[in-house]
Amino acid sequence: MIRVQELVKAYRGKRSPSVDNVSFEVGEGEIFAFLGPNGAGKSTTAKILTTLLPPTAGLAEVAGFDVVRQSRKVRENIGYVAQSTGIDYFMTGRENLMLIGRLYHLSGATLTGRVEEMLRYFNLTEVADDVCAGYSGGMQRKLDIATALLHRPKVLFLDEPTLGLDAQSRIDLWQFVKRMNTDFGVTVFLTTHYLDEADRLAHRVGIIDRARLQVVGTPSELKDLLKGDSIALNFDADGAERALPLLRSATFAKEVLEEEEGLRVYVDNGGETISDLIQLLSAKAIKIKAVTLARPTLDDVFIKFTGRSMDKVEEKVKPWWAQWAGDNWEQMEAQGDWQGNQWMNADGSPKDENSFKDWQQTQQISPEAVTDPQVTAAEPGTENEAPVSENQDSKPATPTDGAAAPAPSTGWAGNEWVNADGTPKDPAAMAKWAKEMGAGKGSK
């Protein structure tokens, strides 16, 4: 029903393509989920398949028609529910359905019949003549799906169908998708970044990350690829380094992965293995801080194929200068084009000389010297995101030497709680601060 071969979508001005050489097929009557974090290329793929975006290269066929050359035929055979609902808030549910039905060139008794059928099917008959602005999120989404089913499409595309819905509405919607799939025999292509959604709803799942399709299979096939349960271990200090060779050579461990906050060990039978594992490590006096045993989930599959956890993949954060750069920020970021404005350089440093010296000082704070949780924003890696506010936040922090540095000459005299050198004004807090600073120095 859907055939995609070596599909590529590259936006102008972006370094890497948004969809990179993706190939897959979806059979008739299947529910196929594209699972991946935000910005992985899911929605772009959906938009290409629904003829909203032309592909840069590759082949895409939906219901037997080419999305570029036979786009009109494709449109007649698909329904599409976007992330943003797209229904008209000033019109009633029935009016929305009638309008979309007409745009699909239905008319007369067929149209009114279908509209009533859809209203009944999605339990919207009672509110059919209310203006949609008063609908709940779940109702709007259901109405949106109803409009996409009016013309009996062969394929239904759902782009993040449960995004922003409450738990009950999500479960409700899953049931509708399953029922629709059997009742109307409609093939469903959905994108989601919810693991449970893909797991419970889809017959087959394609995991997409960083524009590439990593793996395709049924949820159980994918989990079987992991061959067993996973044990996540957290350690103190250098525990992870010492444990790694031990676990790698242990017979029960099928695979050991290094993660940010510890190790993940894949084993056949987690319940039995866990005691062996703890014995092994305690014999070498490696202290374990926390152990978590987990049956495989799609997240484990995701980790296996992408090397990171879905939960850890953060949404693309806008660079701090995006608001000054307008809508082109993405493009400018890719090209490194932003040259600053009259006050700021492109790295967020002030152009004014005095302020620049001050700024330089705040940039040199080492993470170890930071005691105030407020100042954690000064860690490398986050510095591109908010140096402007960081400038103010991190001023009260002390420079690397840890000693009470002389106050910067720019005239910042502290505020009601903090002195200009970052020492607290409250005497008790001052004593504690001094102690902590001493300790910080000692540990280095």
């Binding site: 629904t50 003829t51 909203l52 975006l53 032309p54 009109r72 449109r75 007649e76 698909i78 329904g79 599409y80 976007a82 992330q83 943003s84 609902t85 797209g86 229904i87 008209d88 000033f90 019109m91 009016e95 309008l99 979309i100 007409r102 745009l103 699909y104 060139h105 203006v131 409009t147 307008g326 809508d327």
Partner: protein
């Protein structure tokens, strides 16, 4: 089918407009206020030697209609941006409708709302006892010229909206364009009283031709030759503006 698709979308927009009675009320009142204020403000201008009409209000009526078109259509693009952001445009574009009907229905709707305002203006003008042409064909022809200008300006606003992609600069551009276009036309005073450089500006200003065409039909001698020339220029402007807007729209879709 282009015609039916356009009609259904047009009907939707009209329905939505109808649901916002406050807008409709203000929209209707505004040109009337202009007509009353400006007529009074500039009433002594009608005493200038060679002024074409007996009173200023009669002269100004076509001008205020064109003004309504300008101010009413200049913001047409704002709602397009909103529809793009809400996903309403995507929802239309995945249906097998004719691609051109998306913008054309919007433009028709803008022009139609302006037309309603103009009809009310005309009715008030009659009741005020302005010296209008009482020839139905001439009145209709005048309205058609104003309506065509409305299409052109709404298309221009939609096109600019797609290029700018954000509401704020669109409002700035709208403000930047409307007033000069207004004053560089004979909407408020005949061209012959203008400084020479403004006369030159008026020569290339489509607004000026729309005002001239409407004026000769509403309050003048119904000079069909003058009307024909003005209407052709306005029509050319409207066609070019829509073609450009639709091209920009389709290009923006990837």
């Amino acid at each position: 089918m282009f015609a039916t698709d356009t009609y259904h979308l047009f009907a939707k927009y009209m329905k939505i407009t109808w649901r916002q009675p406050l807008w409709t009320l203000f929209g209707l009142a505004q040109p009337l206020i202009w007509l009353l204020i400006f007529s009074d403000l500039f009433s002594s201008m009608a005493q200038l030697q060679g002024w074409p009409t007996t009173d200023y209000a009669t002269f100004f009526l076509p001008g205020v209609m064109v003004m309504t078109v300008l101010f009413g259509s200049a913001w047409a693009g704002v709602s397009l941006l909103r529809e793009i952001n809400f996903g309403t445009v995507d929802k239309m574009m995945v249906t097998p409708i004719h691609r051109g009907s998306v913008l054309f229905s919007r433009v028709l709707h803008s022009a139609a709302t302006v037309m309603i305002q103009c009809l009310v203006l005309l009715a008030v003008a009659f009741s005020m006892g302005l010296h209008l042409n009482l020839n139905a064909a001439a009145l209709l022809a005048g309205l058609v010229a104003v309506w065509t200008l409305g299409i052109g300006f709404a298309a221009l606003s939609n096109g600019i909206a797609i290029v700018l992609r954000r509401e704020e600069p669109l409002v700035v551009v709208g403000n930047f364009l409307t007033l000069p276009l207004m004053f560089f036309s004979s909407a408020m005073m005949p061209v012959k009283y203008m400084p020479e450089w403004i006369q030159w500006c008026a020569l290339v200003n489509p607004i000026n031709y729309a005002v001239e065409a409407a004026r000769t039909m509403f309050v003048g001698s119904a000079d069909w030759a003058l009307y024909g020339k003005g209407f052709c220029i306005v029509l050319g402007f409207a066609v070019a503006a829509f073609a450009w807007a639709n091209f920009t729209f389709m290009k923006s879709r990837g």
